[in-house]
């Protein structure tokens, strides 16, 4: 665990207008002490993000497809259905995540049995990310050349097949890019989830870094969050490049 004297040394150094190098050395020396806590929190963050991403894709992808299919000129135009779906998505998009989290507490308790811990956090995270991902899916699908969809109709293709074999494959690079944006947003949301006891790196940063004035924890969580986001983004970019055939 952290040695309170380190913090004092660091604070003193900062107060003198400080020796930045000493501060960095102190931080690096402190890393092994912090690591067990950091590692547990990192695992919690990844756990929350992975599961809420899975739920968001399972719900958001069909929702995005429906938004495009029910639109005018879509596969099955249904203006009323589309208006309802679009309104629901907009409501989800317009709530600040921190408010949404609190607003769905009773639903979380009903589904998970508790409102604390990483598993409970998956509920608000998914609810926040589903409309976000659905809109991104909608945008990517709209990019698909209408001529290709028309050609598929002319070849006697069923609408369900057009979605599966034409629209989704053609939009795949955009869908992956949207997925990465969703993952990055979820990482950021998951840190907020820490504020109401969701666990993870955000929780650690607030408890240890902010409330106990331990700057080392603050820096360490910042570094780990940056690393996680960079890794997610790089994997996504690589996939998009590999899949893009245009």
């Amino acid at each position: 665990m952290t040695n309170p004297t380190d913090v004092l040394v660091l604070a003193a150094a900062a107060a003198d207008g400080g020796n930045a190098w000493d501060a960095i050395v102190a931080f690096v020396q402190d890393w092994p002490n912090m690591w067990p806590n950091l590692w547990l929190s990192t695992q919690d963050t990844i756990y929350m993000v992975v599961w809420s991403t899975i739920v968001s894709v399972l719900v958001g992808l069909p929702l995005g497809v429906l938004l495009v299919a029910t639109d005018r000129g879509g596969l099955t135009p249904a203006p009323a259905v589309r208006a309802v779906l679009s309104a629901v998505v907009n409501v989800g998009r317009s709530l600040p995540f921190i408010v949404l989290m609190v607003a769905v507490l009773s639903l979380t308790r009903f589904l998970v049995g508790t409102t604390l811990g990483p598993t409970a956090a998956i509920v608000p995270l998914s609810i926040g990310a589903i409309p976000f991902f659905a809109r991104l899916v909608e945008t990517s699908l709209r990019e698909v050349d209408r001529g290709v969809v028309e050609a598929a109709h002319a070849m006697g293709t069923r609408r369900f097949t057009i979605v599966g074999k034409v629209m989704l494959p053609e939009a795949l690079p955009g869908l992956i890019a949207g997925l990465v944006m969703t993952v990055v947003a979820l990482i950021s949301y998951s840190a907020m989830a820490g504020a109401i006891g969701g666990g993870g790196l955000g929780d650690l940063a607030i408890r240890e870094g902010y409330q106990r004035f331990n700057d080392h924890y603050l820096w360490a969580t910042v570094i780990l969050l940056i690393v996680i986001v960079q890794v997610a983004q790089s994997i996504g970019d690589l996939l998009v490049r590999r899949l893009s055939r245009r």
């Binding site: 050349d145 001529g147 290709v148 028309e150 050609a151 598929a152 109709h153 002319a154 070849m155 006697g156 293709t157 069923r158 097949t161 074999k165 034409v166 494959p169 053609e170 795949l172 899949l243 055939r245 245009r246």
Partner: protein
């Protein structure tokens, strides 16, 4: 092969209504290449899309190969569409699939197994001259090659009818030639019936047996290209041979609906003692025949006799003053 009767179609754009088809009758014989030419907005595209019911006409019936499509819906309509191939102006290839994947798409959709698909795709690519491009992606191909893929895909389910939506409009002249030659060869080899729309007169001239000129949702004239050229006042003849309109009242337009061995012009001066001055003219290969059109200034006492003489020999004579 294609019989469309009384087609009407209107769109509502904002407040006002646009009539795309205003009573069109279309009859395409088996094995024929039929071209519909017109400016953009004339309704050509709507007409073509009515044939495979991508757009359902408000009124009228469409029958292809004896089957009335306008009465079909759902799976029976989809099955009927597989007998009608379609080639698109901007190719409409799936960018995420290879050439082979694109050509095999219609087969995949209609449930043909993988092994048969492979064989058939190989044959089709050979047929359009792209045997070595099976594994390429559309983005790696030139426009002409993309259109060949489009044609191979349109032929995958062995349709009797091919619809071509401005298939050569996005291509350069040399590539246009090769694609038109390919279409003609496919018609000859496979006995395809081809309905094409275009805004280029050249396409009509090069490969069409029959043609229609379309404007504001109606056919202004339609029929066999050679018959149309031999019809007085034909818009098609005028569009195929743009002649200077600067002649005086003595100007005569003479159309040669085929090639003749007789030296008509020297015959005229000798027999009827008229002066003939050629103002302009052209000879074109139309529907496989040499067709010519001249604009001449003709003066002399026996001018009318001379013109009658030409008409009697099968030339079409139109006087500018009349």
């Amino acid at each position: 092969m294609i019989d469309a009767v009384g087609l009407h179609k209107a769109y509502r754009l904002k407040k006002h209504q646009v009539t795309a088809l205003d009573g069109v009758d279309l009859h395409v014989e088996p094995g024929e290449i039929f071209g519909v030419v017109g400016q953009s907005g004339a309704g050509k595209s709507t007409l073509l899309r009515s044939v495979n019911l991508l757009e359902r006409p408000d009124a009228g019936t469409v029958a292809v190969a004896g089957e009335e499509l306008t009465s079909l819906r759902g799976s029976r309509l989809r099955a009927a569409r597989r007998n009608i191939g379609m080639v698109h102006q901007h190719f409409a290839l799936l960018s995420s699939r290879t050439v082979a994947g694109n050509v095999g798409f219609p087969l995949e959709v209609s449930g043909v197994d993988r092994a048969s698909r492979r064989t058939r795709v190989g044959e089709l690519l050979e047929l359009v001259g792209l045997g070595d491009k099976a594994r390429a992606y559309p983005a790696q191909l030139s426009g002409g090659q993309k259109q060949r893929v489009g044609i191979a895909r349109a032929l995958a389910s062995a349709p009797q009818v091919l619809l071509s939506d401005e298939a050569t409009s996005a291509l350069d002249p040399a590539t246009t030639d090769s694609i038109l030659a390919l279409l003609r060869r496919l018609r000859d080899e496979l006995g395809l019936t081809i309905l094409l729309i275009t805004h280029e007169m050249d396409v009509i001239k090069r490969i069409c047996d029959s043609a229609a000129i379309m404007e504001k949702g109606v056919f202004l004239e339609s029929g066999k290209v050679l018959d149309l050229i031999g019809t007085p006042g034909s818009l098609l003849a005028r569009s195929l041979f743009p002649l200077p309109a600067n002649g005086g009242p003595e100007t005569v337009f003479i159309t040669y609906p085929r090639s003749f061995d007789e030296p008509f012009m020297s015959e005229l001066t000798r027999r009827f003692d008229v002066d003939v001055n050629i103002l302009g003219g052209g000879v074109e290969q139309v529907a496989g025949q040499s067709v010519g059109r001249l604009s001449v200034d003709m003066r002399g006492a026996r001018r009318n006799e001379a013109l009658t003489y030409l008409s009697e020999h099968g030339l079409l004579v139109e006087e500018a003053g009349k």
